[in-house]
């Protein structure tokens, strides 16, 4: 072979070398991994699934944790560290004043993040068939959990962005966008379902989930921090109650109370249970675990909203006089507060005022979502609404007597009594405002209210948040909440 030929061959060789390697162009990022790559292994799917729970925790322990408390009237704002003035905390100012605007409001991120989580579940649900590395049990468990998450988050969106279920007689008013599959940006323009349809979707997802669970937990961690057949039923009970589905609420809560193996906290250790710095109370049903930092310490916790550490380090929210006034003599829950005198600027003068910080969320508390007492109160309310007054009284009294109150015998005002008991027992656990809506009550905030408007009668357009402008602007199928 002469030299000329050699050169030609060399060139041809290089040509082939460069153009025959077909996967040369398939480049995969490192910390950023394509969907296909990430979901091609068991560990990858589990990472994605763990990421979903991480986002849920973040959502529920965000400023949302203050929502029903601040709007309902359980919050007193504490004086500023520097100028000792009492102002509405920036976390919740617009919502507290019923003054949100669609363009820019505090719960826009909550809306966006909710749909982010929903999208994450749908990405996985759509690929379930390709997860051949899971056995059947694991797959069923994964699907059940994902369906539960999907329904749970849609419910959480409905709580803030749609009027309560009983706002119209047949729940024909606007519900939320319910994504049963991933949406393609620029292609899909969904519209809001009615509230009745929203609940139908929720029920259908929950029913399927409950049928699939085999409680084969996929990730490490306490079982109350994941959705499983027990926690999902508890969630179902809460949703059913809020959706005025008294039968389901009664049935499912009954099932949980009877079969969970969890017992109510006792009177004697009620306070000490709440005072535990990290672990949840013994009657916990669902708690989302507080995130850790790389050293294993808790990096952020819901106690950021409520804790009291020292006369200079304390959170912006304490208990309002309205809620404190509900604890009568003998109620052990009067001891659920850290009482502190803090200098407060009142008309230019520094006066020590007493503030009551709840003991529920101190130190490194996780995000309590449901506990057994709530299920008793759910069952009580469902029974009361269904006319089973004696059963309702039993459950209500179980909570009352534990707190040191006398048992009620008169059921004539039982729904109101349940409402008040919920406010006392579940204070700071983010229920009050949602209860007010379910009961179609007016918002009346008296002591410690510093809102522009403290009292608003039911119904009101401003009892829901506006759909974010980003959604309205880009999608003509989306209808804005009335009044915004």
């Amino acid at each position: 072979m002469n030299y000329r030929n050699q050169t030609t061959y060399y060139l041809l060789f290089l040509l082939c070398l460069c153009h025959s390697c077909s996967d040369f162009l398939e480049v995969e990022p490192d910390e950023q991994v394509s969907f296909d790559e990430q979901l091609s292994t068991k560990s990858g799917v589990l990472e994605a699934y763990s990421g979903i729970y991480r986002d849920i925790e973040d959502l529920i322990s965000s400023r949302y944790a203050l929502y029903a408390e601040a709007l309902g009237g359980n919050i007193a704002f504490t004086p500023d560290n520097e100028d000792n003035e009492v102002n509405v905390s920036g976390q919740i100012a617009d919502a507290y004043n019923f003054n949100s605007i669609a363009m820019d409001f505090e719960f826009e991120e909550y809306y966006d993040n909710s749909y982010d989580i929903i999208n994450q579940t749908n990405i996985l649900l759509e690929r379930l068939d390709s997860f051949s590395f899971f056995n059947n049990d694991e797959l069923n468990q994964l699907e059940a959990e994902l369906l539960t998450v999907r329904t749970f988050i849609h419910y959480q969106v409905a709580l803030l962005f749609a009027q309560n279920y009983n706002f119209t007689a047949n729940a024909s008013h606007l519900g939320v966008v319910y994504n049963l599959s991933t949406l393609e940006a620029g292609q899909d323009f969904p519209s809001r379902l009615s509230m009745a349809e929203t609940y139908e979707n929720i029920q259908s997802d929950l029913d399927r989930a409950i049928s699939l669970f085999n409680d084969n937990q996929l990730l490490s961690g306490p079982n109350y921090s994941y959705f499983n057949s027990l926690t999902t039923k508890a969630l179902y009970a809460r949703i059913a109650l809020q959706m005025n589905d008294w039968d389901s609420a009664q049935n499912v809560s009954d099932e949980v109370i009877e079969n969970s193996g969890i017992a109510l906290m006792s009177t004697t250790n009620y306070i000490s249970e709440w005072e535990k710095p990290v672990a949840p109370v013994s009657e916990i049903v669902i708690e989302f675990s507080a995130p850790l930092d790389s050293d294993g310490g808790v990096s952020s916790t819901i106690s950021q909203f409520y804790d009291y550490s020292s006369p200079t380090i304390y959170a912006e929210h304490a208990a309002s006089g309205d809620v404190l006034n509900l604890y009568f003599e003998n109620d052990i829950r009067q001891n659920m507060f850290i009482e502190v005198d803090l200098d407060t600027n009142i008309n230019g003068q520094l006066i020590p005022e007493t503030y009551f910080f709840t003991k529920k969320f101190q130190d490194d508390a996780g995000t309590t979502y449901m506990r057994l007492s709530e299920l008793y109160l759910i069952r009580a309310e469902a029974n009361a609404r269904l006319g089973n007054l004696n059963q309702a009284l039993d459950d209500l009294n179980a909570i009352r007597t534990r707190a040191g109150l006398i048992a009620l015998t008169d059921s004539s005002d039982i729904l109101e009594e349940i409402f008040l008991e919920r406010r006392r027992e579940l204070a700071f656990e983010n229920h009050l405002f949602f209860d007010i809506l379910r009961y179609k009550k007016d918002v009346t905030r008296d002591e410690d209210c510093i809102a522009d408007v403290c009292n608003i009668a039911y119904p009101s357009n401003f009892f829901v948040q506006p759909i974010p402008f980003d959604s309205i602007e880009q999608n003509q199928n989306i209808e804005q909440n009335e009044g915004y």
């Binding site: 460069c18 153009h19 162009l25 398939e26 394509s34 763990s50 749909y115 929903i118 490490s220 961690g221």
Partner: protein, 1012 residues
């Protein structure tokens, strides 16, 4: 008979001799040596002609000649003409001399004649080039200018090329060839499609320093902890560059297909010359001083303004008399800087081998106290050729060190506070720190080691066929070390931590390999044909890492991050690959009609499977009218050369983030417990878009070249670039779970006119004067935007994407003045006048109107090169007109800064104080509405800039006894002055001061260059 013949012959010869030598015959043998004036090397093959006779001699290999002159007239009056291709011819009268040492000067214009048309080894004579290519040599641009990167030299010097300079040394300069290649990004952090030209140095495709797409940490954003993005062009030494070729139209850039949308700059570095080993050395040193310095209030004025502010804001307790302190923080942080540059090199070669080695070290001690920039560029080039084979190697290691701890240079704090407190320590300032302490105690260093390397092999297979292969490599390693000393406020944190150290590393490795076959043949001496076929592959790998440590025990010097109380580490990697096949065909008929076709197929890993292949191509034609018979038959035609060119073609822009089309998860799987219940986790970060494809840029160009009267070379061009399928980041409905997605969602065009002129007013031995002038006008309009959502930036950026407007439009509210009654701002919104507070409450981005345009209406530059004997004077100017800049409001009238900072001196006189004041600035209080994109902050930046003046003197080394082959002295002034259309008011700030709060530096230096 024999005798008779011999006789006749003899008679004939005699007659002949008589005829030749005539009456009185003079003769003289002359001899001599012809040398190149630049390097004193012999010129072989130079012609020596006796003027008016056509007779003469040619120099031999050693440059020597010998000739016997015979003349009937006196020889001493005769003149010889010495000429050599590529050199300025020289005439000498013989007088009484018989030995001549003649030095010829290189004719730069003549060397221009060869134009490099691509990095794949193609070149053409200037008159044969079909595409639009501008060529400039470093010589013309005066390499003695004080510059960190070569792009600075190009400012205003090439038609259609607009540079936005950056006064911060070593930081990015943006180069726009024929307008902006992509939409103006609406946010800082979105890693947009590259708007920068493809820059190729000796075949090495240079990498860009950009963030990682989709990663919201390594996003090259701005902020105290962000990466210091530097100009990657620093790795090319200005002194090593021979020429720039700027490829603009489809015929020129078509060979680069999907990378060519923004134009291509091909840089050729100097190579060694044949001849003995020679050394060159240069030294230059000078003083830099800040120009157009921002003026702040002095201590007394500050106190007055501050008191008015507090009175109007209801903080009556804060009103106090001036304490007599007047600290000029700005002066304390700015001083005269020092620039020095040292050059040493050698070159030489034989028939087969040639080499050149050079090292340039430059130090800029900036006029900002403690800030400096040091750079060492070294290069080695080796060329080899033997018979049909040639090879060349380029190796350029460089090291650049930038240190700029003086971050508060424009953060002039309260002038009534002394630098030192009574105890002799720095007065403490919370959070940002005492500016002087920050400049002295902190470290902000970025060290970049880079290696450019290319190897090229070339083999002439037959007379018609040549094979070339080239491997190019751009490797760099950047280490940043930022130290926020715990001794000042910048390193004292709310949680009690003292001291912070942030270290970043960026390792980049990019290589490209190409192989091509070139064929050329001429048929019937009329049909010339050449073709090129090649393949190329590219890969770029970027590793980024970040480490931060807060909280140290030892505070006065940076400690290892591993000893910090709080530590944070992050990493990411980015990889892009691509491959291409390209071809080019050229045909011409009688060097009069030229045709060109380009075609290229590109594939890139950046795009979805469905769209990862792009086909691009271009066609061009040119007609040299001056070669036509009908043209040449007019004898006194003043036109020497006339040509028309036309081209059309498509190019693409593949230089986007690497993974745009994929849906992406961001993964944390390092088992570090920060996931849910300590588990590893992943969350989606980028929406998938399998339909994402290449941006397309269709380029049309029409050009006319005229050379007149042997003096003027004129080029005029009109062009239009239609850019389609622009990749834009659009907001999506939140129900998708994403906030934005990249789509091919926009169209726009750039069109314009370019004109350039080169005039050689004088070009003879003693006096040379050349002027280069160019001017360009560019228009841009967004013609289509599809789908999805919001298209407005924040008010601070004042950008919006809207059909029917230039993408460079600045959007905002139209400020009409200060209400004399209230001192508040008034705005015109849709023809009605509103108070600023009302505007802020009730209007939003949808009410913005165009208030300006950041692209100039026209721009260009001029350079004059004047030589008289051994003295050369170069003057370089650039200009731009009609571009607007939106200035940050902090220093103008954001009075709230008065609580801890100083503000523009203008406030003292121009702010509203009492009813009836016709003021330019509003009432000094804390209740003014903040409207960042008010036309009040918009300034017309039209200006002329005197970029450089350089005066040099070449010592006639042959006349004085020095051991040098050449020696020249020079004085240089760089960044000499600006003339703005809008003058700054006397003693106050105007556009000149607002434009660059980090002041530009004027450097005046002296130096000398020698070869020996």
């Amino acid at each position: 008979m024999k005798f008779c013949f011999m006789f006749k012959s003899l008679v004939c010869i005699i007659f002949l001799l008589i005829g030749v030598f005539g009456s009185t015959q003079n003769q003289r043998e002359i001899s001599g040596l012809v040398l190149s004036a630049e390097d004193n090397l012999p010129l072989a093959g130079a012609t020596i002609k006796i003027k008016g006779t056509g007779a003469g001699a040619v120099t031999d290999f050693d440059g020597k000649f010998k000739y016997l002159i015979k003349s009937p007239g006196p020889i001493k009056n005769m003149v010889i003409e010495v000429s050599y291709l590529g050199y300025i011819p020289k005439s000498l009268s013989l007088r009484d001399k018989s030995y001549f040492e003649i030095k010829l000067k290189e004719d730069v214009a003549a060397l221009d004649e060869i134009v490099i048309t691509s990095s794949y080894g193609t070149k053409k004579l200037k008159q044969e080039v079909v595409g639009s290519i501008s060529t400039v040599t470093t010589d013309e641009l005066v390499e003695e200018q004080v510059a960190v990167t070569f792009d600075e030299l190009l400012e205003g010097q090439v038609a259609g090329v607009y540079l936005e300079s950056n006064p911060r040394l070593g930081e990015e300069v943006s180069i726009n060839i024929r307008g902006q290649g992509s939409l103006t990004p609406l946010s800082n952090n979105v890693v947009g499609t590259s708007t920068q030209p493809l820059i190729i140095v000796d075949g090495i495709i240079l990498s860009e320093e950009v963030g990682i797409d989709g990663n919201n940490f390594f996003d090259a954003g701005t902020g105290a902890l962000s990466e210091n993005i530097l100009n990657p062009l620093a790795r090319v030494g200005v002194q090593d560059i021979e020429s720039f070729n700027i490829l603009k139209d489809a015929a020129a850039v078509g060979l680069y297909g999907a990378d060519a949308a923004n134009g291509v700059i091909i840089i050729t570095t100097k190579s060694g010359r044949k001849g003995k080993l020679r050394f060159n050395a240069g030294v230059q040193s000078g003083i830099s001083s800040p120009i157009n310095q921002f003026q702040f209030l002095n201590g007394e004025q500050y106190q007055t303004v501050s008191n008015i502010y507090n009175a109007n804001s209801g903080n009556f307790n804060s009103i106090e008399p001036w304490n007599g302190v007047d600290t000029n923080w700005f002066d304390l942080l700015n001083r005269a800087g020092i620039f020095s540059r040292f050059i040493f090199g050698a070159n030489g070669g034989t028939e087969r081998w040639r080499f050149r080695a050079n090292a340039t070290y430059q130090v800029n001690k900036e006029s900002q106290v403690s800030n400096n920039y040091k750079k060492l560029n070294t290069t080695l080039s080796v060329d080899y050729n033997k018979d049909k084979f040639s090879a060349s190697l380029r190796l350029s290691p460089s090291l650049a060190i930038k240190n700029d701890p003086n971050t508060l240079f424009n953060f002039a704090v309260d002038p009534t506070i002394p630098v030192f407190s009574d105890d002799g320590n720095f007065t403490p300032f919370a959070s940002f720190g005492n500016p002087v302490a920050v400049a002295q105690q902190n470290i902000s260093e970025a060290e970049t080691f880079a290696l450019l390397n290319s190897i090229k092999l070339d083999y002439q297979i037959t007379d018609y066929l040549r094979a070339t292969t080239l491997f190019g490599m751009d490797f760099s390693e950047k280490n940043e070390d930022n130290f926020f000393s715990g001794l000042n406020g910048s390193g004292q944190f709310n949680d009690g931590d003292l001291g912070r150290r942030v270290m970043r590393e960026r390792n980049n490795f990019k290589w490209n390999w190409s192989a091509n076959l070139a064929y050329n043949q001429t048929f019937n001496q009329k049909h010339y044909f050449d073709a090129l076929l090649g393949v190329e592959t590219r890969r770029e790998l970027t590793d980024l890492s970040f480490a931060r440590g807060d909280g140290y025990v030892i505070l006065d010097s940076p400690q290892p991050i591993s000893t910090a109380d709080n530590q944070d580490y992050r990493f990411d990697t980015n990889e892009t690959t691509g491959r291409s096949v390209f071809t080019q065909l050229n045909y011409d008929f009688k060097k009069t009609y030229f045709l060109l076709a380009n075609f290229r197929v590109d594939q890139s890993s950046a795009f979805g499977d469905d769209n990862n292949t792009a086909l691009n191509g271009g066609l061009g034609a040119s007609w040299v009218i001056s070669n036509e018979e009908f043209f040449t038959k007019y004898l006194n035609n003043p036109i020497d050369f006339l040509r028309m060119r036309i081209s059309y073609g498509s190019t693409g822009n593949s230089r986007i983030g690497s993974y745009r089309a994929l849906g992406l998860y961001t993964v944390d799987n390092d088992n570090d417990l920060d996931g849910y219940n300590g588990n590893n986790y992943a969350n989606p970060s980028t929406a998938p878009n399998p339909n994402l494809g290449w941006e397309r840029n269709n380029k049309f160009n029409l050009g006319l070249d005229i050379n007149l009267l042997s003096k003027f070379q004129i080029t005029a061009e009109i062009f239009r670039d239609d850019i389609k399928d622009l990749i834009v980041s659009r907001d999506v409905i939140p129900e998708t779970g994403y906030s934005n997605v990249q789509i091919n969602g926009s169209e726009m065009y750039n069109q314009g006119i370019e004109f350039s002129l080169q005039a050689d007013w004088f070009r003879n031995e003693n006096f040379r004067w050349r002027t280069n002038f160019n001017i360009s006008k560019i228009e841009n309009e967004v013609t289509d935007l599809v789908g999805l959502g919001s298209n407005n930036s924040t008010a601070e950026r004042a950008r919006s994407q809207r059909v029917g407007f230039a993408t460079s439009t600045i959007w905002g509210f139209d400020f009409v003045g200060i209400d004399p009654a209230t001192g508040r701002e008034l705005y015109n919104v849709d023809g009605e006048i509103f108070d600023g507070a009302y505007v802020r409450q009730n209007f939003n981005a949808t009410n913005w109107t165009p208030i300006g345009d950041s692209q100039p209406d026209f721009f260009g530059g001029m350079r004059n090169s004047i030589g008289y004997k051994n003295i050369n004077l170069n003057i370089i100017l650039s200009f731009a007109s009609g571009q607007d800049g939106l200035v940050g409001r902090e220093l103008i009238d954001n009075y709230r800064v008065l609580e801890n900072r100083n503000i523009s001196v203008n406030v003292f006189e121009d702010a509203w104080q009492q009813q009836g004041d016709i003021a330019q600035l509003p009432i000094i209080s804390d209740s003014n509405p903040i409207i960042s994109n008010s036309s009040k902050y918009l300034f017309d930046e039209s200006h002329i800039k005197l970029r450089a003046i350089n005066l040099s003197y070449d010592l006639p080394v042959d006349k004085v006894n020095v051991p040098f082959k050449s020696l020249s002295f020079f004085a240089n002034a760089t960044n000499v002055a600006y003339w703005y259309k809008n003058k700054s008011p006397e003693g106050k700030n105007g556009v000149a001061e607002y434009k660059n709060v980090y002041p530009e530096m004027r450097t005046i230096s002296l130096g000398l260059n020698a070869t020996f």
